[in-house]
């Protein structure tokens, strides 16, 4: 063989044809079939459906071989409310009819879910958290809902509690009267709150500043500073978060936080189509996120009706818990827009549903 032929043969060997991943092939084929077509012939429809069915059936058969080890995600249906202001129930039900303003963009082909170690719910966990805050005492375990809490009461009235979800609460009494007659600047309040995060072992650099509520007078004791993790893009659940209560004297008088920590495992999942997610929302299977505080009463009945126009769809994240108490930061398909309620008022909303393909979820 001549040098020329030898080299050409070696190039063919070194640059072999590639086969597109089956997952991409299936997803794109489905997408192509879904695209609007102005002049569809009737004869093409059965063939298209048969082809899609063949792809799907064969894909399901091959799937365990191709992707054997992905852990399942908690089903969205099993998660609790994430809406701000709804923890005790808003006292009414919001019933929205969803429409979309135009065609919604497809979700990314793949998304990540982050798995954390199980919640460190134990007497030792609350002892360690209390120690970071300079609080020591005996651990008291008490019944709470269908579980229990662990609490430490300090000698000066401080309290540190851990709940089964990994939520911590810290409280210490405020003085009878503050010497300061006004709150310091927001920047100073934020600095004080960040200092507190450091004491908890949360790196302030990883904490994104959220809402800041400063009372008009010191009579209301404390300002509230909210943080969420910077590494989460488009977070729709309240958790993870940290809420720090700062007094006019820049001392910390309370806090609540859920902040997953420990070794993370990131797994990548294939998404389902935006059309499938949208069907869930229209069928009432989505989880609605509205700031119920923005809806003024009184409500003449137990239901407020309204229409909700979706203008955008994207991947967002919520914090969920697996059956083994593992904490999962999982992706959801989030639809956002503005709802018009029956009294004409308008409120922004997000409604979300499952983002990844059904086989990745734990049984509902």
């Amino acid at each position: 063989m001549t040098d020329e032929k030898n080299l050409e043969q070696r190039l063919k060997s070194a640059l072999p044809p590639q086969k597109a991943p089956e997952e991409l092939r299936m997803k794109l084929r489905q997408e192509l079939m879904r695209q609007p077509q102005t002049r569809r012939k009737h004869s093409g429809l059965p063939l298209g459906i048969a082809s899609i069915a063949a792809v799907l059936v064969l894909g399901l058969v091959l799937w365990p071989t191709l992707f054997p080890n992905l852990p399942t995600l908690p089903s969205i249906a099993s998660t609790g409310p994430v809406t701000r202001g709804a923890s005790g129930g808003p006292g009414f039900e919001l019933k929205l009819v969803y429409t979309k303003a135009g065609q919604l963009a497809e979700l990314p082909v793949k998304v990540d879910a982050v798995f954390y170690p199980p919640v460190p719910f134990s007497p030792q966990a609350v002892t360690e958290a209390a120690a970071r805050l300079g609080v020591s005492g005996e651990v008291v375990t008490e019944p709470w809902q269908d579980g229990q809490t662990h609490r430490i009461d300090g000698p000066s009235g401080e309290t540190v509690i851990i709940f089964p979800s990994g939520f911590y609460n810290y409280h210490r009494p405020t003085p009878a009267e503050f010497e300061a007659d006004a709150f310091p600047s927001k920047a100073e309040l934020v600095d004080a709150a960040k200092g507190f995060l450091s004491r908890l072992g949360i790196d302030p650099v990883s904490a994104q500043l959220g809402e800041i509520k400063v009372p008009e007078t010191v009579d209301f004791d404390t300002a509230e500073i909210y943080f969420t993790p910077t590494y989460i893009t488009n977070q729709v659940s309240i958790s993870p978060y940290a809420r720090v209560l700062v007094g006019p004297d820049k001392e910390i008088y309370g806090a609540g936080w859920v902040w997953p920590a420990g070794d993370q495992e990131v797994n990548t999942y294939s998404t389902r189509s935006i059309a499938a997610a949208w069907q869930d929302v229209q069928a009432g299977k989505g989880k609605l996120v509205v700031d119920y505080h923005a809806i003024t009463g009184p409500v003449a009945g137990t239901v407020i009706n309204g229409t909700a126009q979706v203008t955008e769809a994207s991947i967002a994240y919520i914090l969920t818990y697996g059956p083994d108490a593992g904490v999962v930061l999982q992706p959801v398909a989030a639809f956002t827009g503005e709802a018009t309620l029956e009294d004409g008022s308008k409120v922004p909303f997000t409604v979300y549903t499952e983002a990844v393909q059904e086989r990745y979820y734990q049984p509902k």
């Binding site: 190039l11 063919k12 060997s13 590639q18 086969k19 079939m33 792809v55 091959l62």
Partner: protein, 184 residues
């Protein structure tokens, strides 16, 4: 995996393209025929799986939108779809302002024939590195020629140069590679 509609399996590309304007199954057959070629081309050019998947997806969606503009001349449907892929890739890279380096480990050929496998992984890796170091235009011709098995006429259609220019680029690339790669 066989997914194509049996009635179109033997149909000519040009006929399929004409029918694809009103028949999605015809387009699906073209998709099955050329998916791997487009994927191979973009993967070797970008060296990134996720980027490749995005570009390949956009390529076929654009092709579907513009299938009515396809005319069976020049390099035929392969040249047409690969040209769309090339334009899409250039747009994406420009938009993201990315200089995409090839991954250290190019694919080693899961689908390689026994003959391919006879050549050692190390020798292939060395040759791929040399291809990667070629000027972009030369590298592109080498990928289209030896990985996709296209002729000079089709390559010329895809990269927008004359057949003579393609021959020249290929000649210069092979000369460089011959000098730099030790003979077996």
């Amino acid at each position: 995996m066989t997914t194509r509609g049996a009635s179109y399996a033997e149909t000519d590309d040009a006929v399929l393209a004409a029918r694809a304007q009103g028949d999605r199954a015809a387009f699906a057959e073209l998709y099955e025929r050329y998916m791997d070629k487009v994927y191979t081309y973009i993967y070797y050019r970008t060296g990134h799986s996720s980027l490749t998947e995005d570009i390949v997806s956009n390529t076929f969606l654009k092709a579907l939108d513009h299938i009515g503009k396809f005319r069976p001349r020049g390099g035929g449907f392969p040249a047409w779809i690969l040209r769309i892929a090339r334009n899409e890739m250039v747009d994406v890279l420009r938009r993201e302002k990315r200089q995409v380096p090839l991954e250290d480990e190019w694919p080693t050929g899961n689908n390689a024939s026994p003959e391919h496998q006879a050549i050692s992984r190390e020798e292939n890796a060395e040759l791929r590195r040399k291809v990667e170091q070629l000027p972009p235009a030369q590298k592109e011709v080498i990928i289209l020629k030896f990985s996709l098995g296209l002729g000079n006429k089709e390559i010329a259609q895809i990269i927008g140069k004359s057949g003579t220019a393609v021959s020249s680029l290929q000649h210069r690339a092979l000369t460089t590679l011959r000098e730099e790669v030790k003979p077996l």
